[in-house]
Every structure is written in structure tokens, then in C-alpha cells.
């Protein structure tokens, strides 16, 4: 580790963690982030780059990195893996057609060494839409009972970024899980 990262690590506020928010385009990553932060969600356009927000939640500082999900820019996701404590995977539960893509991309992330220790929160988003798959159906479709999730700390929450339903539950789980892994040890 280099000088600057050591200093950052030693000096970092005790309860600070880094969350990476990923998912296919139009899954609702930015909307979740803004809604959770109490911002207006009526004028959100597709993210071509990334957004950063530092949120305070139950005494923790969450550095949230929300990176665009369009196919052409997914290869850039890996530039944001470093030092990630928690991965938030956002699924458009009403987009049945692309659930295969969604599973493939998630599987790919699970193989990344830099994300190996990260807690995984899956938001089954867009529950406000008619035809949205349930939490159980998403678990099935993404194969979350499969082998590569056996050793992973993961959870899934049905949510709606538009109504805000479920967001708090998900973020609570995430901070609890990360803090039980990281902060209890020290």
C-alpha cells in the first residue's frame, strides 16, 4: 500500500464505508440514491458517467458510487471496485426480458477478486409497476441460492425507488452487515 492510501486508511473516520451501486441501465440506481438522499427524482436522465454522494446513515458515512449501467460502459465498472465495502445491485423487476443479462452481469461481478469481501444488497426495484417480479422470483431468476453466493453476505429487498418503499430496510441491512464485518473487528 502506498503512502496516501495508508494515511487515508489511518485517518479515515471510523465509521466510513464505500458502497458501489451497479446494475443494468434503467434499473433505477440513480433514482434509488437520490430518493434515499431525499432529493427530487423527477428529472433524472440516464447516467453516462457516475455520481457520488456521501450520505449519513445511522452514524455511518456511506460513500456511494453510482456508475452508469449501459452496456457500452459496463467495462468501466472495474475502475470502481477498489476498496468497496458493499455492492448494491439494482434490478428492474419488471424487465423480464433482460433478467438473463442481469444475472450474467452479476455473476461476472461475483468473480471479481476486488469485490470478494463486499456485502451484496440486491434491490428488486420497481415493485410499483404492474408485472414486477416478486422478491422470490428474482432470487430464482438470479440463481441466488447457487454455489457462488454460498460464502457471500447477501440479502434481497423488494423496493420501489419512486415510493421509497424498501430502501431503508436495504440500507439498514447493508450498514449492519458491513459494520459487523469491519468495525467489530477493530
Amino acid at each position: 500500500m502506498g503512502l496516501l492510501s495508508i494515511i487515508r486508511k489511518v485517518k479515515a473516520k471510523e465509521k466510513e464505508c464505500r458502497l458501489l451501486i451497479l446494475g443494468l441501465d434503467n434499473a433505477g440506481k440513480t433514482t434509488i440514491l437520490k430518493k434515499f438522499n431525499g432529493e427530487d427524482i423527477n428529472t433524472i436522465s440516464p447516467t453516462l458517467g457516475f455520481n457520488i454522494k456521501t450520505l449519513e446513515h445511522r452514524g455511518y458515512l456511506l460513500n456511494c458510487w453510482d456508475v452508469g449501467g449501459q452496456q457500452t460502459i459496463r467495462s468501466y465498472w472495474r475502475n470502481y471496485f477498489e476498496a468497496t465495502d458493499g455492492l448494491v445491485w439494482v434490478v428492474d423487476s419488471a424487465d423480464r426480458v433482460r433478467l438473463g443479462d442481469c444475472k450474467r452481469e452479476l455473476d461476472c461481478l461475483m468473480e471479481q477478486e476486488k469485490l470478494a469481501g463486499a456485502s451484496l444488497m440486491i434491490f428488486a426495484n420497481k415493485q410499483d409497476l404492474a408485472g414486477a417480479l416478486s422478491e422470490e422470483e428474482i432470487v430464482e431468476a438470479l440463481g441466488l441460492k447457487g454455489e457462488q453466493f454460498k460464502t457471500r453476505h447477501w440479502s434481497i429487498v423488494a423496493c420501489s425507488a419512486v415510493t421509497g418503499e424498501g430502501l431503508l430496510v436495504g440500507m439498514d441491512w447493508m450498514t449492519d452487515d458491513i459494520s459487523s464485518r469491519i468495525f467489530m473487528l477493530s
Binding site: 502506498g2 503512502l3 495508508i6 457516475f50 468501466y76 475502475n79
Partner: protein
């Protein structure tokens, strides 16, 4: 520093001598730590270091825009920037302090969690903060120079005074070439009262 400590010790009571005697290992570590922090302080105030930042900002600030969303390319530039700064600082430290070891300094840092405060560490922290980087680039683009927190520590060097000509890639060569002027330069910085 040692001499001052000893003279103070001599005037004090025997009890305190005993206490101080017990601390002698600690103070060697302290000296090493202080020496490095002092060197870091000097390095951050070097014109050459300021040039390095200026040149980088000048070369890359055009792509930055004052929008909430960041472009993917900023991340690339940010890691280049961090590597450049870190490379320079480590290079300088190695020149100034023969016995410099990142490993040793790293463990001293970890033991001094509560002591690493002040401008030097704030500034070093800022180099790994993406949002500070973005606002630095934006202020550079808008005003053609540093603004905000950084100049408070550095002393402003405007880009009019320091040439556009030196590319960032050339900097490691500059470091090596200036080896012999290093100590006077850092002393000058101290003499000029820039050091707290």
C-alpha cells in the same frame, strides 16, 4: 531537538529523568516520525511540487464540467493524479531521508492515529479525495489556478509565473536532476516562514 530535550531534563527533578529514560525508545521513533513529517511539510511547499500539480491541472482541466454527474474519464485522470503526486512525494522522501522506509513510517502512522492532524495530513488526505480533485480541476479551469483549501497550505503559485512548457512526464527527470538543490530549497521554504 535532542539537545533541547536534554537541557530541559537536566534542570528537572530526578524523578522525571527516570520517566524520560523509559521513553528513550519511543523518542527515537518520535524523531524518525517527526523527521518524515517535517520533510513532507517541506515537499508540499516546494515550487517544483506546485508546478507538478499546475501542469497536470493545466493539461487536463478542460474536460471537466461543473455538473453533478461526473464523466468516466475523471476517474482515469484521478488515478493518474494520485499516482503522480504519490510518486513525487515518495521520490523526494527517499532522497531527503536515507533511512526512509514506507513500511516503518506506515506502522508509525498506524500507532499515531490521534496525532496525524494539521495541514500536512489534511493536504495529503485531499489528494485521495475524488470530490476535492474534481473541484480543484474545476476551479483551475474557471480561474486558471488553485483555489480553495489547497493554496492556504501551499502559497499560491500562479500559472503565469510557472511555465506551461513542462510536461507532467518530464517531472521524474526533474526530481532526479534537482537532487543537489533539494536541501537548500527546503531550508529556504522554512526560512521564508512558510512552515508553521
Amino acid at each position: 531537538m535532542d539537545k533541547v530535550d536534554f537541557s530541559l531534563l537536566g534542570e528537572d527533578s530526578g524523578e522525571e529523568i527516570l520517566i524520560d529514560g523509559g521513553d528513550s525508545n519511543v523518542s527515537e521513533e518520535d524523531n524518525y516520525f517527526d523527521e518524515i513529517v517535517g520533510a513532507l511539510e517541506n515537499i508540499l511547499m516546494l515550487e517544483e511540487f506546485n508546478d507538478l500539480q499546475n501542469d497536470f491541472c493545466e493539461q487536463h482541466c478542460e474536460v471537466f464540467e461543473d455538473t453533478e454527474e461526473s464523466k468516466l474519464v475523471y476517474t482515469d485522470l484521478f488515478s493518474q493524479y494520485t499516482e503522480l503526486i504519490e510518486g513525487y512525494i515518495i521520490g523526494r522522501l527517499t532522497l531527503e531521508i536515507n533511512s526512509f522506509s514506507m513500511e516503518r513510517f506506515g506502522s508509525l502512522l498506524a500507532d499515531r492515529q490521534d496525532e496525524i492532524t494539521g495541514d500536512v495530513f489534511d493536504m495529503l488526505m485531499s489528494f485521495t479525495d475524488f470530490e476535492e480533485f474534481k473541484s480543484l480541476m474545476l476551479s483551475f479551469k474557471n480561474q486558471g489556478g488553485f483555489a480553495g483549501g489547497i493554496d492556504g497550505c501551499l502559497g499560491i503559485v500562479s500559472k503565469e509565473n510557472f511555465g506551461v512548457g513542462v510536461g507532467v512526464e518530464a517531472s521524474p527527470m526533474k526530481i532526479a536532476g534537482k537532487k543537489d538543490v533539494l536541501s537548500p530549497a527546503s531550508r529556504e521554504a522554512k526560512d521564508a516562514g512558510l512552515s508553521p
